[in-house]
Structure formats: C-alpha cells, structure tokens
Symmetry: C2
Subunit: 115 residues, 2 copies
Amino acid sequence: MSVTRKRYYCPVEVTVDVIGGRWTPVILAHLKEGVHRYGELRRRMPDMSEKMLTQRLRELEHHGFIERTVHPGVPAPVSYQLTNDGLSLAPVLQALYDWGVDRASRRGIAIEPVT
Amino acid sequence: MSVTRKRYYCPVEVTVDVIGGRWTPVILAHLKEGVHRYGELRRRMPDMSEKMLTQRLRELEHHGFIERTVHPGVPAPVSYQLTNDGLSLAPVLQALYDWGVDRASRRGIAIEPVT
C-alpha cells in the first residue's frame, strides 16, 4: 500500500495502490461481513502467515480502513472492523467476490470457507 | 497470476489470483474501453516498464482474457482487446475505477489520463 505517489494516469491505479496485494482485499472482504477477532481472521485465511496478517492489519489501520479494538480480558482479545472509509470499499469487495464465485463455478474450483 | 492453486477459502482469493498485481487490473481497465494498439497501451501507462507490459499482456493472453491481433504492415501493428472472459471482469474493473475516482476527489489526488 503506497499512498505517497504523486501522479496517476488512471483511477484504477489509485485503487490498486490502496488495496493491491495478495491479501489486503481478502482481509477486507472478511471484515465486510462484520467484526472479527484476530483469531477468527487467522482461521479464515489459513494460507497467510501470521506475520503477513499482522503487517496487513497494521497498514489497514494506519490508513484508516479498519479499526482495532482491545477488549478487557487476559490475554486481551483484539477485534477488527471496517471504518467508514473501509466500508466505502464494499462495492469493490463485492465485485471481487462475485467474480470469484462465478469463476470458481465455471472452472470447477472448490472454495471451502472456514466458518 | 497463478491459476494452479488447489484450494481456496474465499472467492476473493480466486479473483486476486487472476487479476492481482500492480498492473494487470490497469491494463484490463484500459482494454475495457476498447481495442488498443500496443503503443497506445504503452502511452497510457507511462510508469510501467516495457518489459512488465509485455509480460502482463502475455499472461493475460495465455489465460484467455485478452486477444492479440497482428495487422498487415511493416512493422506489423499489434492490437489487443478483451475476450468474453476478459469482458466478464467489467463489473470488477468498473468498481475499481469508481472507487479510485471517489478517492482521488476526496484526497485531492490528480489523475491525468494520457489520451
């Protein structure tokens, strides 16, 4: 995620600078469905390393797309949810989701969500 | 672009595997607007290296999202257009575009298309 670039030639470049990368849209798509505890996010994306998840979450929080809440308890549970800026991405996330569903069904690709 | 992966946990992962990466969605978004000569694509994405453009175009052609046509002439002009599979990405590309327009206007980011 690079938000420092000065010049863009196409609006799609702006969006890709924000949500480009392998995992950022996947994390956001899960959070679009509601608040998630850290452990839930880990479980739903078994192919992503813990280090990667932590980095992406920090970036997303830093750029104001998600909000991190620390709850009372030992160890203190941490949850994440989309901010209004994050919610503004809903149409993008939905389009990515819908196309993935179609593609998987046309190609016989199995999608097995972790619930 | 990796189309060999066996298991997915979320439809968004499928889409990102296909159109993830910095430039692939930008190339597709330009082609969504119509047939482009190779040189036109080069001009519209001044920040992308020629090597990168060639690689991305080859991948997109290999995976059936774009079609390459060699026209008569010396040197033979080459043009690219979306296939039906490529056109199926239109709602995704439009959502990426629309969000980029909004973001740029909220943030005072200049977008200067090369026409």
